[in-house]
């Protein structure tokens, strides 16, 4: 007899939505999370506001997870790492470590929602000087400051008068092995520009880009307001290096529409770092024997028409485990996997 419980690994937006879906349909969701709280990367990295609607992250995540808290159909296991798996669709045995103690779950299907990590620009030392220059930060560093409603130069605590974003750091790069576009960084840079302008209306903001990639409504909800209302300057041409110049940083690149080199002084530089598979995602791929693509993300089997099924029947991958994803993608695939997992288990019961 098939086990109808579903295990969800990872308590970010995708995992939470999957647990909501399973429990909402009247089945048992077991949610394991390695940290001691839910919310995933947006919570862990202290995102200030979500893209594109600029809603406060904590408030939005609070609303998202409310239905699974104190829900008798959702067992949440914090501080828990999945360490092993055996069995098949309808009958998996999952081993896990919870604060040093081995535990076991019996489930019919598994949803992997272990997400991504941000690209570490330290891997590009000679280009962007992230670890060398205090005033060169990443989108995530900026989120932390914005969540505290304070935006200053790390080097001296003063408000920046001029700052720039450099897009595509760690993405669209064959040498780094990350040929893909990370999808969200153009929107997030523009969103942060708006937030910074709200805090510091006199700060001049420049975005150096190769292509602005604004999907769907991000175009009109973030990009256009950033340019038209907040007067963010978009300049086509990605900077190549950042060097110290006095107490400022010098950004060197080429303005491609003018076909002229540029060397512009900035108070701060924000690197628009992309996404890579998280360690958790890589480990889960190993444990469950899932195919990975060349970038280390979990490969789904159905192309664009099945975004969550993997090569192992009964194991589904959601959110940024399968590639760069925004929150819309994450909750969409989370809900989709809940439905697919239960229908797979239920169809076993019918054929049995």
């Amino acid at each position: 007899m098939a086990n109808e419980n579903v295990l969800i690994i990872g308590g970010g937006a995708a995992g939470i939505e999957a647990a909501k879906g399973i429990s909402g349909l009247g089945f048992k969701a077991i949610l394991v999370e390695k940290r001691d709280r839910l919310g995933g990367t947006p919570d862990e990295e202290k995102y200030a506001a979500l893209t594109p609607d600029l809603r406060d992250t904590q408030e939005a995540l609070g609303d998202l997870m409310a239905p699974i808290k104190d829900n008798p159909l959702v067992d949440i296991h914090y501080n828990t790492l999945v360490t092993g798996a055996s069995g098949e669709l309808g009958n998996f045995t999952i081993k896990a470590l919870q604060l040093g103690k081995e535990i076991e779950f019996q489930v019919g299907a598994v949803i992997i929602a272990t997400g991504f990590k941000h690209f570490d620009p330290g891997r590009e030392t000679q280009k962007y000087s992230y670890y060398e220059l205090d005033d060169v930060i990443t989108l995530t560093d900026a989120e932390k400051m914005l969540s505290e409603h304070k935006f200053v130069r790390p080097s001296n605590g003063e408000e920046p008068k001029r700052l720039c974003f450099i897009q595509c750091v760690g993405s669209r790069d064959r040498r780094l092995g990350n040929e893909y576009c990370s999808k969200v960084c153009c929107g997030i840079s523009s969103k942060q520009s708006i937030e910074i302008k709200k805090l510091l209306p006199d700060c001049k903001i420049y975005i150096f880009y190769i292509d602005m990639r604004m999907y769907g409504y991000w175009e009109n909800e973030i990009y256009w307001p950033a340019q038209e209302k907040y007067k963010v300057n978009y300049i086509k041409g990605m900077a190549t290096e950042i060097v110290k110049k006095g107490d400022k940083v010098l950004v060197k690149g080429e303005d491609t529409t003018l076909r002229r080199p540029m060397e512009v002084e900035m108070d701060m530089v924000i690197l628009a770092v992309g996404m890579e598979p998280s360690e958790g995602t890589q480990q889960m791929a190993e444990i469950f024997g899932l195919n990975k693509n060349k970038y280390g993300f979990i490969e789904t089997t159905g192309g664009c028409l099945d975004t969550v099924s993997t090569n192992v029947p009964g194991v589904y991958a959601v959110g940024a485990t399968t590639g760069p994803a925004d929150l819309e993608d994450s909750v969409s695939t989370g809900g989709l996997a809940a439905m697919k997992a239960l229908s797979a288990i239920r169809s076993l019961a019918v054929t049995a």
Partner: protein, 422 residues
């Protein structure tokens, strides 16, 4: 920024495809580094009411291929202006401010609605107040202010064309009663020799159709729409009040004009100042009356038609002129490639009518020359027009492009009168 000698690259001798080139023929300039993106120039523009959309450009470049000034070699278009502003060029004192003819072809294709029709007059108004205006345009402003027309002709002679051309035209202050159609003649039909030809032809057509109409005669003053778009807002408003008062005095329900620029002002600007009169172009008025026209002469010409920017793109009238042309027996209409919405500007709008000297430093050919060449390519005998700016501009261009004798320029009214044997 002056060019540093070190940035000049010049070899004593180079050989390109077997041809030796001396220093001045192989001179190159090392590209200067951009050290700053000063936002002040852009901020100064976008802070002006009406010019906000200058900052909205995302460099898609769709405006560039349709900008008539750019096509004539003028290195122009909203995308380029945006980029120059981003580099810190002061548009208020830059020649680029005066190149735009407000033809609206860029706005037609602009996905971001960067609106040069609002941006140009808003910025130019500031420059006019500062005295930064090309001399020849300033002269026209002064003449208009003093004489009521841009040519500096006497106001008292504004209705002289009627006697001169021996046509019977009712003048409002003489007939002293409201008419069905108040004909606002405007300056070029009233004073320019070829404009008078068209005006007289239209008068004959109106008379043949028994239309109850009248003109304002010496009371009329320039509509000043092009002066407004060239930045002279004060002058525009003063004259608009004058003309609106006349419309009111003569209880004008419908005003008709030959000039699409006057039409534009009276349709879009005058109502903001209290005018209640409906305004139509003479082609719009005449097209429904085709059945009443008695054509007695076949005009066996091949013709092509130039859509005036301010009749077509600005005011949406593309069909009436064509219906009239097609109604005239004998005429064979061949459209130019750039027609209707895509029509190419004659160069006269937005002050361009009075900037030919200034523009000659910035473009390879007049816009009117570019257009005349296109008209000649269709094999037409006649370039048909219905805007009084165009007859003079295109006739000059026919001469300067060496097409004299090959192409005539005629107003639709002239062709109607000819075919009706009036």
């Amino acid at each position: 920024m002056p060019i540093d000698k070190k940035q000049i690259i010049e070899l004593e001798k180079v050989t390109v495809e077997g041809i030796e080139l001396g220093p001045q023929w192989n001179r190159m300039f090392e590209q200067r580094v951009i050290f700053d993106y000063d936002t002040e120039a852009m901020d100064k523009v976008t802070s002006i009411a009406g010019a906000e959309s200058m900052g909205w450009c995302y460099q898609c470049t769709q405006c560039i291929p349709v900008c008539p000034v750019n096509q004539a070699g003028g290195e122009y278009g909203p995308r380029k202006i945006f980029r120059k502003l981003q580099q810190g060029i002061d548009l208020f004192t830059n020649d680029d401010l005066w190149k735009c003819t407000t033809c609206m072809n860029c706005l037609r294709v602009c996905p971001k609605e960067v609106d040069m029709i609002k941006i140009m007059p808003a910025i130019r108004e500031e420059s006019v107040l500062e005295g930064n205006v090309p001399d020849e345009l300033q002269e026209v402003f002064e003449k208009t202010f003093e004489y009521g027309n841009p040519m500096g002709e006497s106001q008292r002679k504004r209705a002289d064309w009627v006697k001169e051309r021996e046509v019977d035209v009712p003048i409002m202050k003489e007939i002293k009663r409201p008419v069905d159609i108040l004909w606002f003649v405007e300056c070029y039909p009233a004073y320019h020799n070829r404009g008078k030809d068209a005006a007289a032809a239209l008068a004959k057509v109106l008379n043949a159709l028994d239309v109850d109409y009248g003109i304002l005669g010496t009371e009329e003053k320039c509509s000043c729409d092009s002066q407004r778009l060239a930045g002279e807002t004060g002058l525009f408003e003063e004259f608009a009040e004058h003309n609106i008062a006349l419309f009111r005095k003569y209880k004008a329900k419908t005003v008709m004009t030959m000039d699409p620029h006057a039409l534009n002002a009276m349709r879009h600007e005058y109502p903001k100042m209290g005018s209640k009169s409906k305004v139509i172009h003479y082609t719009t008025y005449l097209a429904p009356l085709i059945d009443k026209m008695q054509f007695s002469k076949s005009l066996d010409y091949k013709v092509t038609f130039h859509d005036p920017c301010y009749l077509g793109r600005h005011n949406g009238e593309f069909e009436a002129p064509r219906r009239l042309i097609e109604a005239i027996p004998g005429l064979q209409l061949t459209e130019m490639g750039r027609c209707k919405q895509q029509s190419y500007c004659c160069g006269g709008g937005g002050g361009g009518m009075w900037l030919d000297g200034f523009m000659s430093d910035h473009i390879n050919e007049r816009l009117s020359e570019n257009r005349v060449r296109e008209a000649v390519e269709t094999g037409a005998d006649i370039l048909v027009v219905c805007c009084p700016y165009e007859v003079s501009r295109f006739e000059d261009a026919v001469k300067s492009t060496g097409n004299e004798g090959k192409l005539l320029v005629k107003d639709i009214a002239e062709l109607l009168a000819e075919s009706m044997a009036l």
